[in-house]
Every structure is written in C-alpha cells, then in structure tokens.
C-alpha cells in the first residue's frame, strides 16, 4: 500500500531535489543543452558574496519573525476571546477563519491596492481610511520607504491577516482538548484567572504552539505569491530568495536558481528536521 507513494515521492520529491543539487554544482548558466562542467560550490560562493542575495536573506529573516510573531499574537488573542464562550461563537470563528480560504495571489492583488503609499489628500487604500478617520499619524508609506523592518512588516501584514484565523482554530482546539477537571482543580486551589492560564492552560498548549510555529515558519520561508502580487517581480526592497529564484530562472540561469533553491531548502530543513525528530521521539515514547 505504501510502495507507490514511496516511489512517487522518491522520484518527484527526493529525486528532483538531488537533480537540483546536481545542477547547482555545474556551470549551466544558460538554457543551452549538452554537457556542463562541475564547478563545485562556486555558485554558492558567488551567492553569498552578492549584495542582492544577502539582502533577500535578511528580508526573509525579518519577514519570518514579523509574520510568526504577528500571527501567533492575533491567533492567541482571538482564541482566548472565543475560548471564554461568547454568543455566536461559530459565526466569529468562521469570520476569523475565512481569510485563509482566499488564495495568496488574490489577496496579494487586493493588499497591493490597500497598501498604497500615497498620503494626505491623495491617500488611497488603508491610508485613505486613516485619512477619513482623522488618524493621520497612522498613515505611512508602507513597504515603499523606511527600514527593512517597516518594509517587511508591511509585507507580513496581509499574511498575518490571512493566517491568524488558522492559528486561532489550532489554539481553540487545544483549549477544548484540556480536560475541564484541570481548570476546576486549579480554581478549587484558589488560582487566579491569570495564574490558571499561565501555569495550567498555556503549558498544555505548547505542543500546539510548536506545530503552529513550524507551519508558519515554513510558509513564510517559501512565501512567493503574496510578494510577487504586491510589489512585482523586481523589487529590491522586498525581494526574498523565492522571488530571486524566479528572477534567475527567468533569465535561464539554471545553476544559480538551483543553488538558491537548495539554500532555501536548507533553511527550511533547519526549521523542520528538529521538529520531525522531536515528534518521532515523542511517538516512540508513547
């Protein structure tokens, strides 16, 4: 039963990873066919000596932090609010979860409009909203100016909007999975509401928080469509390795784009492999 899956994954995933890695070691810098010669890790050396690639890696780091922190905070807040039991809970749950149903490329197009950098009388998008509400201090140029942090946080904003509901659902399921006896016992022992959450409920959520972290982390590292839709393909300020890879592939620089892909895979692996090791160990213990 497992054999076809193993074969398919073996070829289409691991086989192609090996192929990409192989390509990244060659000097195949054009679409020309025929034999290519091996240049060792020279392509990687060039990449890490390149302003543009290092910039994209830094952008990616900032994006990932902003995205994970933002999503976890909003997801947790919404989960806490709903966990207390509000009237019409299922409606709110759906409202918070809905953004996830929209494809990133579609929400990216709309957020591209919302994040229009014009301010003052010309303001459009979210800045227009702030203008109407007389919240002038909130108007800002979004991703088009300012530091790397403000730039990438603006890019993370749509992603946070889209994924917070999902994290809320994860946490909510976690809260519901905690036996009510634990809460009652804590209350009987005289724990305050804050202490109840801090010492009894949150520790029970840590496996879920870890899963959420991994899911968000690998999504953020591979993020392409949102950035492509909001800023276009050649925007230095917001370029991440996935977008840079697309750009190098467009110019048929096979070796370089393969090298970027492998670096990206390595970064994701740093995040995912410890998690897999951890879960496997947990399962074995059970």
């Amino acid at each position: 039963m497992l054999l076809p899956t193993v074969l398919l994954l073996g070829y289409f995933v691991y086989g192609l990873i090996a192929w990409s890695f192989n390509t990244s070691l060659t000097d195949r810098h054009t679409a020309r066919k025929g034999p290519a010669s091996y240049v060792g890790f020279a392509n990687y050396g060039h990449l890490f000596g390149e302003d543009r690639f290092l910039n994209s890696l830094k952008n990616l780091g900032v994006l990932t932090v902003a995205f994970i922190v933002g999503t976890l905070i909003f997801g947790l807040i919404w989960a806490l609010l709903l966990e207390k039991g509000v009237p019409g809970e299922s409606i709110f749950r759906s409202i918070y979860l809905f953004p996830m149903a929209i494809s990133m490329i579609a929400s990216g197009v709309v957020w591209g409009w919302l994040l229009n950098p014009s301010q003052g009388e010309d303001a459009r998008g979210l800045n227009r909203l702030f203008e109407i509400l007389h919240l002038h201090f909130l108007e800002n140029p979004w991703w088009t100016a300012g530091s790397r942090w403000t730039t990438m946080a603006s890019i993370a904003l749509p992603a946070v909007w889209q994924l917070s509901g999902y994290i809320m659902a994860l946490f909510l399921a976690g809260f519901r999975g905690i036996p009510p006896e634990l809460r009652e016992a804590a209350r009987v022992d005289g724990a305050s509401e804050f202490k109840l959450y801090r010492h009894v409920l949150f520790p029970q959520l840590s496996p879920i928080a870890l899963s959420a972290l991994i899911i968000l982390g690998h999504m953020s590292l591979k993020l392409f469509d949102l950035i492509y839709a909001i800023t276009g393909p050649n925007q230095f300020r917001t370029e991440v390795p996935a977008v840079y890879m697309w750009n190098t592939l467009l110019r048929s620089d096979m070796a370089k784009s393969a090298a970027i892909a492998i670096v990206l895979l390595a970064v994701v692996a740093v995040l995912v492999i410890p998690y897999i090791a951890y879960t496997v160990r947990q399962e074995n213990e059970e």
């Binding site: 054009t30 950098p117 088009t144 100016a145 050649n234 300020r237 467009l250 110019r251």
Partner: protein
Amino acid sequence: MRGGLSKTLALVGAAGLLAVSACGNSDNNSGGSGSSANKDVTVFTWWADGGEKAGLDGLVSTFATDCKDYKFVNSAVAGGAGSNAKQVLANDLQAGKPPSTFQAHAGAELKDYINAGQVDDISQLYKDFGLDKAFPQNLIDNLTVDGKIYSIPANVHRANMVWANPTVLKKANIDGTKAPASVDAWIADLTKLKAAGVAAPLAISKGFAQEMLVEAVLLAELGPDKFKGLWDGKTDWAGGDVTAALNKYKTLLTFTNSDREAIDWPDALGYVNTGKAGYTLMGDWVAAQQVSDKIADTAYTYWPSPGTEGDFQFLSDSFTLPTNGADPDGAKCWLKTVGSAEGQKAFNTKKGSIPARSDANPADYPKYQQSAMADWKSKTIVPSCAHGAACTLGQNNDILSAMSQFSGSPDVAKLQAAFGTAMKTS
C-alpha cells in the same frame, strides 16, 4: 491515528498518480499539434488583448491570404508585459518543443536565445524577402549579432517620449507645445511647477518606467554615440559624465509622485490626464492608450524627452525561427507576412506602432504615427535597454532591481556600480 495516516498517504499517492497522468495527457496533446504531418503554424506571443490583440488579428488575416497552405494557431500567453510568456516559452524551448515561431524583443534580448542555440540565423530570408532594402540600414545594424540576423521586426516603438498636460503647465506659464532644450531646462520647469503648487509635477511608475527615464537622461547628457557605447561596452559606466547624468536623474526623482513603486504606467499617465502632474515619460504606445481612453488630442502634448530631440530610441517586437521547429516552411511563410508591407500595415495601424519598413505610406496612419514615421527616417536610431533592444533579460533584471533599490534610498554611486556590474554579466 494510524489508520488516518495511511489513508492520507493513500490520498496523496492517488493525487500524485493523477498528476502524472495529467502530465501524460498534455504531452500527447502538444505532441499531436506539433507534428510535421499537419500544416499548423503555432505563433507564440504575449499579445492577448487590447490594441496588441487587434494588431495580431490584422497580421493573421494577411497571413491567411498570403499563406493559404497553412493554418494559424494562436499560442498567446497573457500578462506581465511578456514576463509570464517568457517563462512559458523558456519551458517549451527547454523541453525541445519550440513553437513554429515566437515573439521576442529585437536586439540584445535575443542573445539569450542565440547563446542557448534556440534560434536560427535568418540572414538569408532578409535577402529572399528583400528586407535588407526595405528596413533602414541603421535598424539592421542594431539587429545584427556577429554578422547574423535572427529575427524579423514587426513594428517599431519610440521610447524617449514625454507626454504633457498643457493646462497644468500653464499654471507656471510654461508652453506645453515646446520641449525644454535640455535636462537642466526641464528641471528648471519642474521647479517652477512645484512652486506653482503642483506637488509632484513629473508622474512616474514602477520598474521599467524608471529605467526609461534614466535612459532618457543618459541619452540626453552623453549623446547618442556614447549612449550606445554604454550597452556594447565601448563607454565606461564608471565615467564622470555618467555620474553627472545619474545625479540629474536623482534630482528628477524628487519631482515625482511618492507612490511610484506601487503604480503602473497607465496610472502615471492618468495623473497627467487628470491634471495631478504635468509630465510623464513613456513610450509612444501612450498614443494608442489616449485614443482608447478617449482623451481629446488637444488635452495633451508630446515631444521627445528633453535633450534627445535628434534621437529615436527604438524598441521593436520581432519574430524568430526556432531551431528544430516543427514546420520551418510554415514559420518562414509567417515571417514573410510579418516583414511584408501589407502585414506591417495590417499590424501597426491597429497596434498603434509604426512599421519597421521605410516604404510605408504615412497617410494610412493616425496623426501621432505620421510624425513618428518621419522621425524614424530622419533621426539617429539608438536602442532601448528597458525593452530588450540593448540589454539581455538578465542585464535588464539586474538593472530593474538596482532601480527599485535607488527609488527607495537614492545612492548614485551604488546605482552606477550596479549598472556597470549588470552590463558585465550576460
């Protein structure tokens, strides 16, 4: 839990099988249409709507009468000013399944395909079709790579054009019908406009529009010969004259709209039409856009960008003969149509560009094109990097990245170095 897991795996496996069979199907389909047994001519373009689609339709109807043995098969990929199409095309070429002929910007952009051995030398066709006499020598020189020509241009556009709103310019008593004599004079006018209350007198959009503006400034400041040299390696990018020109570009950027990284050229043109801005620099496809937007031709003026009066910065869409194409005879018939006087007329009157042939009759064309056709014959022809005549895709990509970096934090030395590095790669 275990049962759930194996079920999931089974589903993933089934999905994988479906994907494989889907691939198989599409392979069969393209194999069928690409076989040499039938007489289909697959023409790959990014002309999918608007004036471009109308132009292609015009070309197709000429093809239908000229090449009765063959059937036109449209293989257009929409979106992204050709960037989506180029990705699809790269895949097809890589897989060894080229279309019968494909669209590419004439000039340096073809080098990628030439270096990859994906297009054939068609110098002989120029002689067979008499195109070596019909096209201006200056254009043929710009198309020739190491003594060989690889494509037939269907049209010509002019890149170094400024579109102005005379009503706005009147606020600062500037005559909108006359171009400032130089970039400095233009900056002086922009300063006056700003003082007269026009906050961002020069409208500009993201990406290639900024690249076009910097090219126009370089062309004005360096002159056509040194400008051409920038792209073929004869002019040093590190020179002091380049620094001076880039500093003027930096000054020009201070007169532009702050949302430049977020808008496209039709939006920037809209700023001029609605009176928010006085000028925008954009290629002459603006003329067709103004007609389709129903802007009265008294509401705007146009002239070559300041200091480039004597130069025609050209870009051109052309068609190629892919190596090992399915049906080269059909493709050659298409190329013959593209280069013919009737084909160029059918295409260009609808697309809003001018024919590459110098024997076309101006009376067949609208007002703007008539003046452009006269200029095409009399001015110095220089190539455009932003539109592939002077730069390869890779060089262009590096330059665009540097332009967007400059737009956020203007550092002339960095931009100058980036240009130099970009032009050293291929």
